[in-house]
């Protein structure tokens, strides 16, 4: 028993990779969420010039090879990139080779997976309720926060969890954009990749693999529990 436990005990390097992953993925989805909500709302409710272009742009990271996305991020946000240079010169801030860069890559990759469930949830909100709310005197913003937002909440939670899981697993764009630096950009998948590159630590490889699976299972279970609870809250299960 003790042997198994000691085998499962994480080393400092492994713990660092896991904590870094949680931080990177957490920040990525929390920053991406309001943006995804805005884009999903625009796509679900409005017709405007450039709507198709926006739709394609949002879906792009899903279909383009992650390496390409990482390279484009490097071009844009690297220290010599057109946005990166500006950020560095004006705010003395850079994404390059920082954990924030890993978060940016993870956020961009998770974005399409977050927009989709939110958009579907908003589209499922009956417009009659919005019309009714307006005749009762609510302004557009109030209608959004009292009707659309709470009714689309299950979609929002799904987006958070799906996005978080995607961000945790992000590999290609991250390693291309911010490289594989221990304690800075070496997230869980990158750590597993590094262990694969230098054979000898099968124990570490297994521990990180098991941990990855546990995180993923945990996220799915959590999303199911949240969905059930929300369903009960809105009373739909009584109908």
């Amino acid at each position: 028993m003790d042997a198994i436990l000691s085998y499962l005990a994480l080393s400092d390097v492994e713990t660092s990779a896991i904590l870094l992953s949680l931080k990177v993925a957490g920040v990525a989805v929390l920053v991406a969420l309001p943006l995804a909500l805005l884009v999903a709302f625009l796509l679900a409710r409005y017709k405007f010039p450039g709507r198709t272009a926006l739709n394609v742009l949002v879906l792009l990271p899903l279909v383009v090879p992650p390496v390409v996305t990482g390279y484009l991020l490097l071009i844009a946000f690297g220290r010599q990139g057109f946005i990166g240079k500006f950020l560095f010169e004006t705010f003395d801030f850079s994404f390059a080779f920082q954990w924030t860069g890993a978060a940016l890559a993870a956020g961009v990759m998770a974005f399409p997976l977050m927009v989709r469930p939110i958009r579907q949830a908003i589209e499922a909100v009956n417009r009659d309720w919005e019309v009714t709310a307006r005749t009762l005197g609510a302004g557009r913003l109030t209608v959004f926060f009292t009707i659309i937002f709470p009714l689309a909440l299950p979609g929002l939670i799904a987006a958070l969890i799906l996005g978080f899981a995607k961000a945790l697993g992000e590999f290609g764009a991250t390693i291309t954009f911010v490289s594989n630096i221990p304690d800075e950009t070496r997230t869980l998948p990158l750590a597993i990749y590094s262990l694969l590159q230098s054979p000898g630590d099968e124990g570490g490889l297994w521990r990180l693999t098991i941990f990855s699976i546990l995180l993923a299972v945990g996220a799915v279970v959590l999303s199911e529990v949240m969905a059930q609870r929300l369903k009960r809250l809105s009373g739909e299960s009584d109908a």
């Binding site: 009956n126 009659d128 309720w129 019309v131 009714t132 709310a133 307006r134 005749t135 009762l136 005197g137 609510a138 302004g139 109030t142 209608v143 009292t146 009707i147 709470p150 009714l151 809250l233 809105s234 009373g235 739909e236 009584d238 109908a239």
Partner: protein, 358 residues
């Protein structure tokens, strides 16, 4: 006072609608496609007519001459739809008070407790909409509209889709609302019984036009022909005063003018008259006082007009102590009996055919 004079186009549908009503309850009546919903949506502000004017009391909602168009949420229109449209994620109380906490409407609004009492919602306040019956949901929707401090209540077929018992459950609340007369009501229906029960003023619509408007008693006899190619007979609306109950036969005696009238139903005694709807096809005429007939009601009246409705039959309008009633008779009978205006005649009404308006 409700004033509507609008014209416009909605998709393929042309409309030009004009009427005025000072009544507590104005009914919009017509087949689907008559323009009732367009009219309702124009009042609420969801449809913009090309030109015209809409005013409720002192508030002008829409006026193309003065370039005025009040925003939907500022019109303060209480809109009750066929489907109650309760917000599914809020309990009854949150739904009822939505206009107050989300719409910033609290000035002058009716008391929450009064409206909850009137609609019998006291026990439902913490329930979620999904757990309510259809009738309960519609009552909550009415309460929610009333609590939004409306200038006018628009009811767009609020009882359509509910079964008979749910209708019976809600109708008394509508009547109380109509009788209190606080907020003018525009009531859309294609059910004549509802119109007769609730409305004072009636707007008869077809194909985007107003055919007739006026008191229900005036307009009701005109409801025929265009709605069913003349197959269905028109009906008349009569005020009848409660007289007594005949307990041995479970019947009620009413008085139309000075004449007695039997109804095969027990009614509550009350001072104000009951409204009785009588279909022209349930009325027969006789020159001599009939004997040995199953017709319970034999009244005495005077022929006002005779209108040929085709080669087979005519509608005869009669006065019974000043109250108009219509009889549909064949042209053959008309000819044999020499029915002409001013003729004094016996009018037989099947008591069982009387539609009772509360």
């Amino acid at each position: 006072m409700l004033e509507v004079d609008i014209a416009g186009q909605r998709g393929e549908f042309n409309y030009a609608l004009s009427f005025k009503s000072a009544a507590n309850v104005t009914a919009l009546f017509g087949v689907s496609g008559a323009g009732k919903s367009t009219l309702i949506d124009a009042i609420s502000g969801h449809v913009l007519p090309e030109n015209g004017r809409i005013a409720v009391g002192d508030s002008v909602f829409f006026d193309t001459i003065n370039r005025k168009n009040i925003n939907v949420r500022k019109r303060r229109v209480g809109h009750i739809f066929q489907d109650p449209r309760l917000f599914p994620h809020m309990n009854v109380k949150r739904n009822l008070t939505y206009a107050r906490w989300a719409g910033w409407r609290n000035k002058k609004a009716a008391s929450f407790d009064d409206i909850v009492d009137m609609l019998g919602l006291g026990d439902l306040l913490t329930r979620m909409p999904a757990s309510l019956s259809g009738g309960e949901r519609q009552r909550v929707a009415i309460g929610r509209a009333l609590l939004s401090d409306p200038r006018v209540l628009l009811m767009d077929e609020p009882l359509t889709g509910l079964d008979h018992w749910r209708k019976m459950e809600i109708m008394p609340y509508f009547e109380r609302l109509a009788n209190e007369g606080g907020v003018p009501i525009v009531y859309v229906s294609h059910d004549l019984d509802e119109v007769v029960q609730l409305a004072d003023h009636m707007v008869l619509m077809d194909g985007g036009r107003v055919l007739h408007h006026g008191s229900v008693a005036e307009v009701l006899p005109k409801v025929h022909g265009q709605f069913d190619q003349g197959k269905h007979a028109p009906s008349a609306l009569i005020d009848a005063h409660f007289e007594s109950i005949d307990p041995s036969w479970d019947m009620t005696w009413l008085k139309i003018g000075r004449q007695n009238f039997a109804l095969s139903e027990k009614l509550e005694p009350r001072a104000e008259p009951y409204r009785v709807r009588i279909d022209a096809s349930d009325v027969a005429l006789a020159l001599n006082e009939p004997r040995g007939t199953s017709f319970q009601n034999i009244l005495y009246g005077r022929v006002l007009t005779v209108e040929k409705m085709g080669s087979a039959y005519s509608d005869v309008t009669l006065s019974i102590d000043g109250q108009p009633i219509i009889a549909r008779v064949t042209n053959k009978a008309l000819n044999e009996m020499s029915i002409t205006p001013d003729l004094q005649i016996f009018v037989m009404i099947k008591s069982v055919a009387v539609e009772m308006a509360l």
